[in-house]
């Protein structure tokens, strides 16, 4: 059924269609309408689930961990400070190999207080062992939640996933969304049936203490699981396309990249704007393309290396910053392509922090700047875009 809904409702419908059994969540702007909608679904009986109104995000994740260990499919949603408060237990969820799915409405960190979009919160969680999907639109939010359960619950993965939707740009913007039929989703996504779970009367200790003799081996297995996840993302999406007719490009969505000389790499909702810019520039004859990092974890190493070997310049647009270094997507893309035989020229653009608009003009200026840098060489490897007081004008 086609409905018009916000990214937050798309999240809620995604969780409902996936038949989440335990939902534990805490309100935070701009995530709140996800859990409000889910509370409504549970209260009306549309969704047969237990809703735990926890007293913090840390408890939300801890409750999901416990419920998931007892064999229930769980879901939660959070944002910014809520996500970073969860940090400890995010690691717990992945170490315990629990395929929890969570929406993070990506929002800037305080201070200064800001309720608007940037990806600092999500990027700060990149080492927690979660799969991370950056979504471009509301349909992708809904679809990725359903796919994430299937990817993560597969025996050789068993890791949690974070579905990232940009604050307000997706969370509070209504778009037409195709809401699939429950029966079709049920056929695609069978009930959660873990090999091992807490069972009354069975003496098993979950999350035991291990010696240095075994700790690394367990971590090695986690690493293998993430590798397997990369394969499952692609396989599950293929299956998803057959059933629902939609696909998103696996780990790395490429747009007009085949003959591109300059490529912009970014993630999240800004990719939609960037696609318009690519279309407009192409109309003027510029050979530009866009590659959207859809999965930041597992990171699309192979896809990026294949792309890098064909282009002259890569601009990486980060909507976050790692202080003392550079944008995290930039450093990771650069690390991935470093050992390629033919390396493109690369530049990092930091833009859109704390809800600052990234306009089509800014993106086309970035593309032009990159094309020049690719020919004449890079002066400033990392540029902060559209900052008052800096000499360069981007708007």
């Amino acid at each position: 059924m086609r409905m018009v809904m916000t990214g937050n409702y798309a999240s809620a419908y995604g969780a409902k269609l996936s038949r989440a059994e335990v939902i534990a969540a805490y309100p935070i702007t701009p995530q709140t309408s996800i859990v409000e909608k889910l509370a409504e679904f549970v209260s009306s009986g549309e969704l047969k689930a237990q809703y735990i109104p926890v007293e913090s995000e840390h408890s939300a994740m801890a409750a999901c961990i416990a419920a998931e260990t007892a064999g229930a499919r769980t879901y939660t949603a959070t944002s910014s400070h809520g996500l970073t408060l969860m940090h400890e237990v995010l690691m717990w969820a992945s170490g315990a190999r629990l395929p929890i799915v969570m929406t993070n409405v990506s929002r800037a960190m305080a201070p200064p207080w800001s309720v608007w979009v940037d990806n600092m919160d999500s990027i700060a969680q990149r080492d927690t062992g979660w799969l991370q999907f950056f979504c471009q639109n509301n349909q992708e939010v809904l679809d990725t939640i359903i796919m994430a359960y299937k990817i993560c619950e597969s025996r050789r993965v068993m890791l949690p996933a974070m579905i990232i939707e940009d604050a307000f740009i997706l969370s509070h913007t209504s778009e037409p969304v195709d809401v699939p039929d429950q029966e079709v989703v049920d056929r695609f996504l069978p009930p959660y049936a873990p090999e091992l779970k807490i069972e009354v009367g069975k003496a098993m200790g979950f999350g035991s203490l291990v010696k240095p003799d075994q700790y690394m081996e367990f971590r090695y297995k986690d690493m293998l699981a993430m590798k397997e996840a990369a394969e499952r993302v692609k396989a599950v999406e293929k299956e998803f396309k057959q059933v629902f007719g939609r696909e998103y490009g696996g780990l790395l969505e490429k747009y007009m990249c085949d003959d591109a000389e300059t490529v912009l790499i970014t993630a999240g909702s800004v990719a939609a704007t960037a696609k318009d810019v690519v279309d407009a520039m192409r109309a003027r004859g510029a050979r530009v393309g866009l590659a959207r990092i859809r999965a930041f974890r597992p990171f699309p190493h192979e896809e990026l290396r294949a792309l890098a070997s064909k282009v002259v310049g890569i601009a990486v647009l980060d909507r976050s910053y790692t202080f003392g270094a550079a944008g995290a997507m930039f450093t990771e893309v650069k690390a991935s392509v470093y050992s390629c035989h033919k390396r493109p020229v690369m530049k990092n653009y930091i833009a859109g922090l704390g809800g600052r608009d990234i306009t089509t003009k800014i993106i086309s200026n970035i593309m032009d700047d990159m094309a020049v840098a690719a020919k004449r060489g890079v002066e400033d490897e990392v540029e902060w875009v559209d900052v008052a007081g800096l000499p360069r004008r981007w708007r």
Binding site: E55, S56, A66, A70, I198, F206, G207
Partner: protein, 296 residues
């Protein structure tokens, strides 16, 4: 056959890595005797997070979910929700945490679970300091005690603040059952655990759990010191059921110095300081008696 005063069936195996004379081992042993085998226990960081032993060792005969230090209240809510959604009714959910994990870092999550009326029993085994990390003060360390972070130095320092009254805090949540228990009184302990099991909603059990290394005493004295805690009214045994308080063992009112002198952690106290502790205890005991009112 000999008749035992507490159920003979064990739900703990020997081979726990707790210290010799560990009170917390007894707390778990008695608790599970009262609750039986259809119990699921969640344990945060605390002595009991290491006492089951290194993987794959486990000294519990019931399922055990380890959780993060501050997360016990959330974990038991999650467990109950999962069993509810799966239609498993006949199961007792237990959160089993130390004093630091309860009155300090875990207070928020526990308070949340109590306020949500999570159907579970929360047990705090109170050894009155962060013992697993090596005897640091907690919000449950009593006035007068030495710990490694309240060292007794030239300025005659020690913990100057009284311990948090966790029973009052939990009672203020309006929970249906709260009780204190002691390892020196296993019969009373098992009875209260069994009673708590039958009640629905959030139940709280506060167990005094002597710690020979942390209390600076001989491990042979674990039971003796726990008994004296009750006799001196340092740790009275009572229960609060639907708001009604009942003292389950009156104790002789032995001078508190008898309790304190067994423990090296109090050995620096002057007579005046011991007297002030005695005064505090006497006042608290009187309040408890007044609260109980005339016996029915």
């Amino acid at each position: 056959m000999v008749k035992t005063t507490i159920p003979e069936e064990e739900f703990t195996y020997p081979g726990s890595t707790g210290c010799p004379g560990c009170g917390a081992n007894l707390v778990m042993r008695y608790l599970l005797k009262g609750l039986g085998g259809r119990t699921v226990v969640s344990i945060p960081a605390c002595c009991w997070a290491v006492m089951p032993g290194y993987w794959p060792s486990n000294c519990l005969k019931v399922p055990l979910l380890y959780t993060a230090f501050e997360a016990t209240g959330a974990a038991i809510s999650g467990l109950r929700a999962a069993f509810d959604v799966k239609g498993v009714e006949d199961v007792t959910i237990v959160g089993f945490a130390g004093d630091g994990g309860t009155v300090d870092i875990g207070l928020q999550a526990m308070s949340g679970a109590a306020e949500r009326r999570t159907d579970a029993i929360y047990v705090m085994y109170d050894n009155e300091a962060y013992m697993n990390t090596g005897i640091q003060r907690s919000g449950s360390t009593p006035y007068g005690a030495w710990t490694t972070t309240t060292p007794v130095g030239p300025k005659h320092e020690f913990k100057k603040e009284p311990k948090k009254d966790i029973m009052a805090i939990m009672e203020a949540h309006g929970i249906p059952y709260a009780a204190t228990v002691s390892v020196a009184h296993p019969e009373d302990f098992v009875k209260k655990a069994a009673k708590a099991k039958k009640i629905k909603g959030f139940r709280f059990i506060h167990a005094l759990s002597p710690c020979p290394p942390g209390w600076r005493m001989n491990p042979t004295q674990t039971i003796e010191v726990a008994r004296l805690a009750v006799e001196t009214h340092y740790f009275p045994l009572y229960e609060i059921e639907e708001g009604k308080l009942r003292i389950t063992r009156k104790g002789k009112g032995t001078p508190v110095s008898e309790f304190l002198k067994l423990q090296g952690r109090f050995s620096h106290l002057t007579e005046a300081e011991v007297d002030s502790i005695q005064k505090t205890i006497d006042e608290a005991w009187k309040r408890l008696l007044d609260r109980e009112g005339p016996e029915a």
